[in-house]
């Protein structure tokens, strides 16, 4: 058995369990959290190197051959998403050392955090739709509790909406799985792709398209796409900042991963209908998300709306359905998660000093905190897509792919939304960093607070993410080449099917 594949899952599980066992010691939990997430990052990078060298890796847990066993499979897309999980997992673990208050830590923040990472890793690695459902539930249960931990009124109200919508999505997902099993008699994704591309697609294409839309709705609720995103801005700004940052970086991306996976592997018969629909939804998601963001004055709400508009770009890459489109989507996913998490970190650092997320009450941060201001500039300009940062190359790739397909409508939308993104980032800059603080006696206060170990940890975790953004921008050529290979693998599922079917143990 190829032990490398279950490694990320096992590491997070063991860290979660040991953190649960050291329930009483806050210090031990903190150490475990950082060491465990560093180990996770290491194992995912190792896996990416392995997949990059030797092609798609697959293994059957329990030793049963392909359509019957429990398959774990990692192609380049999965491996890249796992590295993203590792990077975000590690930086959030470091960041949470400074921002999570002791009450949360003694009520199980660290174990829940690692169980969440375990669910995310499992969802990226599984090769079977029912297991994908199970991993989704593992991830969701942990996220429900993390969201409600602390029990403030806003958190509970947000959690009710978040839990309800996600449970409805799970029910739809489960129903779609049942119908798919009735139709094809298998739930292994590679086996399904094989069956649908051969015999079933001719006479059952209408039914398959219906199922495709059911899956799109189920994953779309989790990914917060256009008409289904209202739970996100109602809940993501309520928990502690570390949790918001983790959710924004990872949870919606798992939904996007699932959409990209099933719509490149299984449902590729009626691309004229399904992928055009996805493209249409992508445009609407971008517009509604960014317009929502422009209207906000609470920093975390503003950033929550931006999550939605960026999801539109990821779907655009899928909707174009070309190698370069998918490659840009992969690159974009990595870039946007990093930039978004960094921005949430900045909001957390500002909250640490000023005690508020309200942009109208903030101010003077540029004068007092030049380092934080620089880090904010790097991540926000990356999100808006200015060269030489990562967002520029991600958007350039998408726009070139769109022009190559002559989908001018979506290209125009993407460019317009970029300008609005830049506008709302400038709004944060003006309000929080540029304008002077209202009361003159408070100006010295943040500068005095900005020191000590806590502040160093905050700045260090933001700097790590900003460095990743810079590296992705300055070294865009080799990284984009890797994304292109991931896109090629997604467009040609034969190798994926072969790898799963031939993996014996």
């Amino acid at each position: 058995m190829n032990l490398l594949l279950p490694f990320p899952i096992i590491i997070s599980m063991l860290t979660g369990i040991t953190a649960l066992l050291t329930y009483r010691s806050r210090t031990a939990q903190r150490w475990l959290s950082v060491i465990g997430s560093a180990a996770l990052l290491g194992s995912t990078i190792w896996l990416l190197v392995e997949v990059e060298r030797n092609g798609i890796r697959a293994t059957q847990i329990g030793g049963w051959p392909a359509p019957y066993g429990i398959t774990l499979v990692a192609d380049l897309f999965s491996a890249i998403m796992l590295v993203l999980t590792g990077v975000i997992g590690f930086t959030v673990a470091v960041f949470s050392l400074a921002t999570t208050d002791p009450a949360h830590e003694t009520h199980g923040f660290h174990p829940l955090y690692h169980f969440l990472l375990m669910g995310v890793c499992g969802a990226f690695l599984t090769g079977d739709l029912f297991n994908l459902y199970v991993w989704f539930e593992v991830m969701l249960m942990a996220s429900f509790v993390l969201l409600a931990l602390g029990g403030e009124r806003g958190q509970l109200e947000g959690a009710i909406k978040y839990v309800t919508l996600n449970l409805v999505a799970s029910a739809i997902f489960l129903a779609a799985i049942g119908l798919l099993y009735g139709l094809a008699g298998t739930l292994n994704m590679a086996d399904l792709a094989d069956k649908f591309s051969n015999e079933l697609s001719k006479d059952e294409s209408g039914l398959i398209t219906t199922l495709a839309i059911l899956f799109l709705v189920a994953f779309g609720i989790k990914a917060a796409i256009f008409p289904l995103f209202f739970w996100l801005p109602a809940s993501y700004h309520t928990p502690p900042v570390a949790v918001s940052a983790l959710f924004s970086g990872l949870l919606t991306k798992v939904g996007v991963y699932a959409i990209i996976r099933v719509f490149t592997l299984i449902f590729i018969q009626e691309t004229g209908f399904t992928h055009t629909l996805i493209l249409f939804i992508a445009g609407l998601t971008m517009i509604t998300g960014v317009l929502g963001a422009v209207a906000q004055y609470d920093m975390r709400r503003l950033l929550s709306f931006h999550i939605i508009s960026q999801i539109g770009y990821l779907l655009m890459g899928l909707g174009l359905f070309t190698v370069s489109g998918l490659a840009s989507a992969v690159f974009f996913t990595f870039h946007v998660s990093i930039a978004k998490t960094a921005l949430f970190f900045v909001s957390g650092a500002l909250h640490h000093l000023y005690g508020t997320f309200d942009l109208k009450k903030l101010g003077g941060a540029y004068q007092n905190l030049p380092v934080l201001a620089t880090l904010f500039l790097i991540s926000s300009l990356a999100l808006a897509g200015l060269p030489p940062l990562s967002g520029f190359f991600a958007k350039l790739g998408l726009i070139q792919a769109g022009l190559a397909q002559e989908s001018y409508g979506i290209v125009a939308t993407a460019l317009g939304v970029s300008i609005l993104t830049l506008f709302s980032m400038i709004k944060i800059w003006n309000e929080a960093f540029w304008k002077p603080l209202a009361k003159s006696d408070e100006i010295t206060e943040p500068a005095r607070l900005a020191g000590g170990g806590t502040w160093t940890i905050l700045i260090a975790s933001i700097a790590m993410l900003a460095a990743v953004t810079l590296i992705m921008g300055l070294g865009a050529s080799p990284i984009f080449a890797l994304a292109l290979r991931a896109g090629e693998q997604l467009m040609n599922p034969t190798a994926y099917i072969q790898a799963v079917m031939e993996a014996v143990k």
Binding site: F130, Y133, V134, E137, L140, M141, F144, V145, A148, G151, E152, R153, G154, L156, E157, G158, A159, I160, K161, V163, T164, L167, V168, S170, A171, I172, L174, A175, I177, G178, L179, Y181, G182, L183, P233, A234, S235, H237, T238, G292, A295, Q296, R301
Partner: protein, 115 residues
């Protein structure tokens, strides 16, 4: 038999969605429960209802005796029931806490975090 179950499933979905659209927290939870039962029954029905042998290889044989009932959907449903049970228990506890802290079970009054 499939027809009967299909009608039952449709009824469960309709009842579940109706309950979720009411304004009470408790009815929301009942609605969620009904939706998950409907999904479980749907898997059971979609995997075909057959009167056949149990999927056990009898002594001296090397393969299953041919008309056999598919055990996989039942395993799937079992897993889904367990997950649904856990999630419902959590949702109950959560809504109790929400009721305590908001002071009402009217969903229309829980708009503090909406934008």
């Amino acid at each position: 038999m499939e027809i009967v179950l299909a009608i039952v499933i449709g009824g469960l979905y309709a009842a579940g969605i109706y309950m979720m659209l009411r304004r009470s927290l408790v009815k929301l939870l009942i609605g969620l429960g009904l939706l998950s039962y409907a999904a479980n029954l749907l898997i059971f029905t979609a995997a075909r209802l057959t009167r056949a042998n149990s999927p056990v290889i009898s002594e001296g044989e090397t393969a299953l005796a041919l008309p056999y009932a598919d055990p996989l959907p039942q395993a799937l449903i079992l897993t889904a029931i367990v997950i649904g049970f856990g999630v419902t228990a959590f949702a109950l506890a959560l809504s109790y806490r929400a009721y305590k802290s908001v002071g009402t079970d009217d969903l229309d009054k829980m708009k503090g975090t909406d934008t």
